[in-house]
Subunit: 297 residues, 4 copies
């Protein structure tokens, strides 16, 4: 394939930009262009069950409303994410509290690089979690807990997931403030967070899928939870991942999708693309461009 050169046009929208990247075809541009084409396939077919996996500071970095939109548009069939994103989404809904105060610690705030959350927001969160948990008892799966949280929030992707019946799995959730409150609550209540039940649920989703696709933001446990489930049916058919990790360290977050074929986590003939970059920039660009391509307004 000949490598073309990028041409600016004054009326270029995001889709036009992605098409131009595909036309260029080389290096980063080519990877982004191919990722857009794969995402288009996943999103334009009714046969593809799409998993969105999210590690890293997606919600702190401003992507919560985009995830909400994707859920409401039916573009993702399940979300697998870290505890932090769940917590940050709830914090946002409980009072819109992320601020950007620069790369330094500021009294009264917890910090994520240049972004800060007032520590008092966590008191509201504690109160909220107590209410949520007081209405639950017995064995409760993570997705049920997250739906319960979503139902009581006025915005955010947890709310959208609850409204739309889209499961959110968070297999590593215990490392977060949700985990903390679950732990405290479990001590003197008949409440058992049943994370294994979610595997059952995800397995069903995966078995029933005509085809399976994954959008992988940042790797880590969410990526591997999705890939492990994909193994049950011989692997993913489509996958797009955005990561800053290197392959050479051997970390899963940096592993090329090609490697997944050796584990039957990715099918031999799957269409896959890895983009090296900060997903807080690349993902809104990619997702918005492909939504434009599909005529979503």
């Amino acid at each position: 394939m000949k490598r073309e050169t990028f041409r600016y046009r004054g009326d270029m929208d995001l889709d036009g930009f992605l098409r131009e990247m595909e036309r260029v075809g080389a290096l980063g541009a080519g990877r982004l262009g191919r990722a857009a084409r794969i995402l288009e396939k996943m999103w334009s077919s009714d046969d593809v069950t799409v998993l969105l996996t999210v590690a890293g500071p997606a919600v702190a970095g401003g992507l919560g409303e985009l995830f909400e939109r994707l859920i409401r548009e039916g573009l993702v069939d399940a979300v697998i994410t870290s505890g932090a994103n769940v917590v940050h989404d709830a914090l946002d809904a409980l009072g819109g509290i992320h601020v950007c105060l620069g790369e330094r610690n500021v009294d009264g705030y917890g910090r994520v690089h240049d972004t800060h959350i007032p520590t008092e927001a966590f008191e509201k969160f504690e109160h909220f979690m107590r209410e949520v948990l007081s209405d639950l008892s017995g064995r409760v799966s993570c997705r049920e807990l997250l739906w319960e949280m979503g139902k009581r929030l006025e915005s955010g992707f947890l709310r959208a997931a609850a409204d739309e019946g889209v499961p959110i799995y968070s297999p590593g959730i215990l490392d977060s403030m949700v985990g903390l409150h679950v732990w405290i609550h479990s001590q003197d209540h008949d409440f058992h967070l049943d994370l294994v039940d979610d595997m059952h649920h995800l397995a069903d989703l995966v078995f029933e899928a005509e085809e399976l696709g994954a959008i992988i933001l940042g790797g880590s446990v969410p990526k591997h939870f999705a890939m492990g489930a994909a193994m049950l049916r011989g692997g993913l058919d489509y996958a797009v991942q955005i990561t800053m990790d290197r392959p050479e360290t051997g970390s899963l977050s940096g592993a090329p999708l090609e490697e997944g074929k050796s584990w039957e986590k990715v099918r031999e003939d799957a269409e896959v693309a890895t983009i090296v970059g900060d997903y807080l920039i690349i993902f809104p660009l990619l997702a918005s461009g492909v939504m434009q391509r599909l005529g979503i307004v």
Copy 2:
């Protein structure tokens, strides 16, 4: 502090190298030298409870026996790791099966960059897990499950942990082959993996600690599980982390320990050092050098 220059000596051992790095004091050398000094403090005092957190391919990359040694020497009081390291440790013990076949997929092997595991090893592992699980019932914490596994293995860090009564926590374990077998087994047996119970256990460990230190390899869920627990007592007193991640993306794995102070996950006056690099090289160097310093043979 004046920056010195590195001086080669023909009789330099690993401790000598770390001391020389400390003497140099600048950039990477300085960070490594300071990390060694902090690790020395953690390891030479009886008052410091030391958590080892491990994400990434530590065991695939050859560190299993070093972890075993650290446990047996009493240098770590708890390990927090991913499911993959637990699985790889068991695989090693069940038949020493990692091979290095280059950066390409090879039929009959699952691949971790340039390192490969025969897929048939997973049959042995399945058999092993079935035996382990058949002896357990009711609610079982992750650390209990891992001790049960360890007891039946002839080598590896799981075995050492079982022998020495050192807890291993694996809050994200469900994304791994252990998770898979737990899930299958749970379907028709009275078996509940109780990951929340481990939080209770870790909380006690942390509360009882005179001082708290962490050795953080690669970040991710294990890092945050440790830091979350550290919050319960106002933060870590000592921490050394080795990571390839960048702070700028906002990922926890790349977050400087300084940032942890804003969350009271690290004490204001804590002694901390971050080394940018591949921990498969840096950690054996650092750990071995400090063990030499302490006269361990």
Copy 3:
């Protein structure tokens, strides 16, 4: 500043995307949004002399035509780049020969990751260089040599620079195929490539600048050549850099622009932004969005 969340709109163009990133304000989004605002200032004022510095595979990666456009629009007043980009631009103009054959060596091609150049193209290039050099004698600066090359090419940024009288400096050019041919030619001709003369020229440009801005793609020698010149007038007033390098190694390519203030390479009150990412994606996005903002069609 409150962190907002990203909102998709079906009619979003590239400028709209950059504005949305600025609105979000956190982490990667914030850095990109601020960079757009700074670039807008550089480009909308007649008082700012703008240097474009380019290390890495910009032309192989498809950006040659964009650089051409920026030069023709008067948006850059000088380009500082590596020898490779100069060579690749000429190769493109001599026959449009970059192809993308995947991440593997292919007989008869030189490779840049997934992009390939037929080795025979270098014969054309040799012929071309011989012609260029045969018309030059005595002491010739790098920018004069590059203009001579540009005049004989039908497209590309060298041609645009020659047409518009925009200087291109390439202080490290000797490591490239241009260097090779210069060396061969110098052996038996009265021809001296006078790289020092370019410093004189750039110094004049910088002294005459009302305000000085830099667009820094990838760091390395081009970045430092620009920053060194900026020192002569107390530093840059504006700068935007896009890099994948880390600050922690101490490499100039990864150094934050803040560090440049300690050298008076950047003014204390300069407006600067660093974006972590692949400039082959980020720069066409940023440049195109800001051109849209300025109404360029």
Copy 4:
């Protein structure tokens, strides 16, 4: 090859560590172990001409004395480096002035991440350069200039190179303080820095080499200058590179040595190893370990 596990020994020296890494064989350990074996070959044979290429903050980071040692031991036959390393080496020799004041700008100091140089040191340097230049006239190659500098310094790698007649090439030197003083001096003196002459010299060195090896620290112009020269004889026979750059961006600094084969910059049957990491840590470890192996005291 079976992957082994790392075994600590109380009496391990640096060579022992490298051997243990080679024994492990997987991922980072394997790459380091293989690199040691290749370096051993380069250094133990009289037939191999060894080029050391250095970009990034090697001298600021404390490696100047190690380079000096390598030159004096006859372990490197030529050095190719950036202007910054040349300047920093001279600054060190003129008064040992690097200090480490933390990651912040400090009045009166220029900063390289956490390392600082008093700005007044540059006055001494200016004085020194004036003296050096006043003794030179006509066309002077870079290596001659650097030898002249070396002769007047009491320590450092420039001095060692002058003493031993080892050429130092610095093809991008004009971006540095040496470049600045050369430029100022050239304005009113009959002095021409002839960087092309060094290519001639390096070409001879390369043509005469029985076998050719390269130690590549950090990539950039020095790496490519060496590889370009290697092309003249069909490529390098041995190479070890240490870099933090990614291959995916297409930058030369991150390019695997395998890619160099497509350009005949590396021979098809060359022995090569790339280590991902901070060379300020990895290189002193690797070089010292291999020197121990060779019995150098």
